[in-house]
Amino acid sequence: MRLRSLLLCGCLIAMPIAATAAQPPPSGDFVPVDETLPGEQIPALPLIATAYGFIWVVLLGYVWTIGRRLQKVESELAALESRGK
């Protein structure tokens, strides 16, 4: 019983491998070319501008939010401390 189960498992694993190995060579639907087709090149400049622009905008926004939050908390703290005196 155990041997039969093992054999069955082995067959199930081996079948897809055998099927892949038995596949015919590529039919040639896709033809490789050496040169890049005109209009296929991805321009680098917009990618660089997006990368640097994203960092700049987010950084400025983050520094501004920290400054604002800090100012708010420090004014609240000053008010509390003056009330306590």
Binding site: I42, A44, L45, L47, I48, T50, A51, Y52, F54, I55, W56, V58, L59, Y62, V63, I66, G67, R69, L70, V73, E74, E76, L77, L80, E81, R83, G84
Partner: protein, 219 residues
């Protein structure tokens, strides 16, 4: 803000303003061309992402095991910076990959583990904001887990097959590419220190406000 923080912030801003000239002066790379210049901001962002995760982990360990309440403020500040610099890394990387590799993303060990670290710290911030009482200790555990992920991210490119540049790229860079890179690393490190100090100060002042309100309620 303290005077030294303002001076450091101005210095970092000045360095960032000059960075485009430094990067523009660097030569193009032979196979990647112009797009590799994203590297000058991508790599320092990735380093600061990992440094922030380590800083948050160390501060969390101090909070958990040495019972230092102020360390929690540092851990939260560094955790927020891990998300910030992680976002920079995970946005600039795919922009570079689109041109250099032809795809936005590949599920290799480096990229996947970096995304995991980012998600750990996003979860950490969500837990700290909405977790209620006890979320500081739970969050500290999460930050420790995040820190443990960092060495794996760093060495992943050397052990698993990937398109990503290896760790050996930095020490072998030619001088004309190395100078702008180290300039950007310095600018990002300065910025990281300033932001960490500002964000930790915010957290410590919040703790003081809460303590004063508690004192008022008691009296």
């Amino acid at each position: 803000m303290t005077r030294s923080t303002l001076v450091m912030l101005a210095l970092a801003a000045g360095m960032f303003a000059l960075a485009p000239w430094m990067i523009n002066a660097a030569p193009n790379e032979a196979t990647m061309g112009l797009v590799y210049k994203i590297y000058f901001f991508h790599m320092p962002s990735a380093w600061m992402f990992m440094v922030a995760a380590i800083a948050s982990g160390i501060a969390s360990a101090r909070f958990l095991f040495l019972k230092r309440p102020s360390a929690d403020g540092w851990a939260l500040a560094a955790g927020e910076l891990a998300v910030l610099f992680g976002a920079f890394t995970l946005v600039t990387g795919p922009l570079w990959a689109r041109k250099a590799w032809g795809v936005w993303w590949v599920w290799d060990a480096r990229l996947t583990s970096s995304l995991m670290l980012f998600m750990i710290f996003v979860a950490y911030l969500l837990l700290r904001k909405y977790g209620g009482p006890g979320s500081d200790k739970l969050g500290a555990g999460m930050a420790l887990f995040g820190m443990a992920n960092v060495p794996f991210i760093y060495v992943s490119v050397n052990y698993w097959r990937t398109f990503h540049p290896l760790t050996s790229v930095v020490p072998t860079l030619p001088v004309e590419m190395g100078i702008p890179l180290w300039y950007c690393v310095t600018a990002f490190t300065l910025l990281f220190i300033v932001l960490l100090r500002m964000r930790a100060r915010l957290e410590h002042q919040r703790a003081r406000v809460e303590a004063l309100y508690l004192l008022e309620d008691e009296s």
